[in-house]
């Protein structure tokens, strides 16, 4: 097993070497803008009047609307442009107190994000800032939501910076989306991209003829998922752990993960050859579920956290079958615990996501089905003291996620009812939601969340946190 990381790293660098040495000066040629304005390609006689001269699209729109510019030239080169946009969101949550309704807690979440996109002829610079109250007062380090540059060359793009990357065709849930951590401090934030956190990434996207793409990734540090240590959304297992420690969360000891040892590599090949969208990926990094050394916990009353080295092989597929939009993600984690009997390391794991959706032909009704599976291998070797030990012997998780959507008045009213249900453990979450488009850029939504199940289950741990949420969101 120890040879595998070395072999994998050598293979990765060999791949990078052959790709880079196979490159010629032509590869570093600036990418085409595609409008045929390069010398020799544009037929001046075909249309040189103002009607066919596109220029700056945002300027045309702004002039047409008679409004101030939302983008503007930054220099004499008309191809430079800075776009500013963002969101304002205001959430109000009413947590149901079934004993005394008037004492139901109410939480208010104002949230502002600002996005800057600077576009040059062959490069983009993107900056997203997050101004939630929690970040401004408690976590100023995380005010940068994303900050990265993308450089465009003839055959490849280069992305460098702090970014969120989404892999996999699943709908707001994935099993092969490994590169960046998740933020679980607001467990019920339904927006998948908002729950993701950015990571420092160097990425090459190599484009081949025929529509295939090879993505090569290096991440210099490992950032684990974020879990709240206090408040209503502390996971049950973490809460139990904190309660056993003399100094609470202060007795949780984390390794330093911004060192060379915690670098990660990944490669993903994808292609859309027609009927099928295909992808295959390899990731050499860390398993995002932490391991806890229970032996040291018993001896020292401190929880020593570690993350297991993994090799991950996965793939994905998207297609349309008999009118069903269908997708599949699958992958296998190879940890260092091949026999499954090392209590300090997670066992190998198989993960699957299968889903489809289809219009029902009545109104605009659309039905969506997703099944997400998580299967721990060699579970018969797991006993008390193992980092993955489950007192009920449940080592598989199949979560069924269903959604029924409709829309009225040209998408101005969009109701949806969603259900997620863990088949083995019987816990669930139901959330109906209705969204109203008040104006083009302003949306109001009303959502109710109901949890159910045993306290130590994924959804059931929040059984007493049912709430009604009213949200206003304005995009600009």
């Amino acid at each position: 097993m120890k040879r595998i990381p070395t072999v994998a790293a050598i293979a990765f660098f060999l791949l990078l070497f052959f790709v880079s040495t196979g490159m010629t000066q032509e590869d570093f040629a600036e990418g085409e803008t595609g409008t045929g304005d390069s010398e020799g390609e544009f037929d001046e006689g075909a249309g040189g009047d103002d009607f066919s001269n596109f220029g700056d699209i945002d300027e045309i729109i702004a002039e047409d609307e008679g409004e101030g510019l939302s983008s503007f030239d930054t220099g004499s080169d008309k191809e430079q442009k800075l776009n500013i946009g963002g969101r304002f969101r205001f959430d109000t949550r009413y947590y149901a107190n079934k004993d005394s309704f008037k004492d139901s807690p109410v939480s208010v979440y104002p949230w502002v994000t600002l996005d800057f996109l600077y576009q040059n002829k062959n490069s983009d610079l993107f900056l997203a800032l997050d101004f939630t109250k929690n970040i401004l007062f408690n976590d100023l380090d995380n005010i940068i939501d994303e900050a990265y540059a993308r450089l465009y060359y003839k055959r490849f793009d280069l992305e460098i910076g702090y970014m969120k990357v989404v892999w996999g065709p699943g709908d707001e849930t994935h099993v092969i989306d490994l590169l960046t951590p998740m933020d679980y401090t607001d467990f019920v934030n339904q927006d998948y991209l908002d729950r993701k956190e950015a990571e420092a990434i160097f990425k090459i996207n190599w484009k081949f003829t025929g529509g295939s793409l090879l993505e090569l990734v290096y991440e210099p540090v490992f950032t684990p998922d974020t879990f709240p240590l206090e408040g209503p959304w502390v996971p049950y297992n973490l809460e139990q752990l904190i309660d056993t420690l003399p100094n609470g969360a202060d007795d949780i000891i984390y390794p330093i993960t911004n060192s060379l040892e915690y670098g990660q590599f990944a490669a993903r090949w994808s292609k859309a050859p027609g009927r099928l969208d295909l992808g295959m990926l390899y990731y050499y990094g860390y398993f995002r579920e932490p391991s806890i050394n229970y032996q040291r916990l018993m001896l020292e009353n401190k929880a020593y956290i570690s993350w297991d080295r993994v090799h991950f092989l996965g793939g994905d597929l998207g297609t349309v079958l008999w009118g069903f939009n269908t997708w599949l993600e699958a992958g296998y984690y190879f940890t260092e615990d091949w026999a499954g009997d090392d209590p300090l390391v997670h066992n190998h794991r198989l993960v699957l996501l299968f889903g489809f959706d289809r219009d029902l032909g009545i109104s605009s009704l659309n039905f969506e089905f997703q099944l997400r599976g998580n299967y721990i291998m060699h579970s018969d070797k797991i006993g008390p003291g193992d980092t993955e030990y489950n007192s009920k012997g449940k080592y598989t998780d199949d979560i069924l996620i269903l959604a029924l959507r409709d829309s009225y008045h040209r998408d101005k009213i969009r109701p949806v009812v969603s259900v997620a249900y863990t088949i083995e453990k019987g816990d669930y979450i139901i959330w109906p939601e209705i969204e109203f488009s008040l104006r083009d850029d302003m949306v109001m939504s009303v959502m109710y969340l109901e949890y159910g199940g045993d306290a130590e289950t994924y959804f059931g741990q929040f059984d007493d946190k049912d709430f009604l949420e009213i949200r206003f969101e304005y995009k600009f």
Binding site: T35, G47, F476
Partner: protein
């Protein structure tokens, strides 16, 4: 003598009826199908690049505006690839749509939503759905393949100053269309329909589309303004070309899922 006159009159009447019963085709230079091919072939440009303003107009007059930029490109003869980029409003800015036509099977379609950072396939069977909340369906935005329809010339009619053929068309396979039939007003020698009536499967008039401001752009007749009205809701969608260019060189990289994600070919 009376018998000769009577026979002559009856024969003339029969000949007249026979001519009429064959259909009006015999009165015109072209058959209905030939007219349909003229319409289809009037789009002979290899590529098109446009910026379109779409106004969604409620019956009370409230207007929501969208701006979309589109590239289309013919490959392998008459098959087309289309990509659409939404520039405004902010709620859909950055959304991108790609469609690839095939001769022997359903089209491939994908949509990219910036809120998900993900490219998603759309089934071709969803062609009857509204295109981004407008009164145009996905199918309305595509060229209808001539060989998939039956045609009949109903009459000639003058409309907006143009001498038009009024053509009825209906799908050979009913499952290929969300409509029972369409009526098209096609100006002679211009071949760009200036009016279309779309009838649903119950035979009710569902939508009416009109095209105005017919002009030659780079030699191609083009309606620079079109409007589709839903007769039941009285909601209208107008399309106005703000910019248009034909036959310019277009990078094939526009018609890839990678372009949908990055916005760059």
């Amino acid at each position: 003598m009376r018998r000769v006159i009577l026979v002559t009159l009856i024969t003339s009447a029969l000949l007249f009826c026979l001519q009429s019963s064959v259909g009006l085709q015999s009165l015109y230079a072209l058959t209905a199908e030939e007219i349909a091919w003229e319409v289809y072939n009037s789009e002979t440009q290899r590529t098109m690049h446009s910026l379109v303003k779409m106004d969604l107009i409620d019956k009370d007059g409230t207007i929501s505006t969208r701006y979309v930029e589109q590239w289309s490109y013919k490959y392998d003869g008459e098959l087309e690839k289309n990509v659409v980029v939404f520039h405004a409003p902010a709620s859909i800015k950055g959304a991108r749509f790609l469609q690839v036509e095939y001769g022997d099977r359903d089209d491939d379609q994908w949509i990219y939503l910036p809120a998900l950072k993900k490219v998603r396939r759309i089934a071709a069977q969803e062609g009857g759905k509204s295109f981004m909340g407008t009164d145009f369906s996905y199918d309305d935005m595509k060229r209808r393949k001539v060989e998939k329809y039956h045609y009949e010339v109903l009459r000639e009619e003058k409309l907006d100053g143009y001498d038009c053929y009024v053509i009825k068309m209906w799908a050979k396979d009913p499952s290929d269309s969300d409509y029972a039939y369409l009526l098209r007003w096609v100006p002679r020698d211009i071949w760009v329909p200036i009016k279309v009536e779309l009838y649903n499967k119950r035979g009710e008039l569902e939508k009416v589309g009109v095209s105005k401001s017919l002009k030659q752009v780079q030699g191609y007749w083009t309606a620079l303004y079109s409007e589709m009205k839903n007769m039941k809701t009285e909601h209208r969608t107008s399309l106005e070309f703000k910019k248009l260019a034909y036959d310019e060189a277009v990078n094939e990289g526009f018609f890839t899922t990678q372009f949908l994600k990055t916005g760059r070919p």
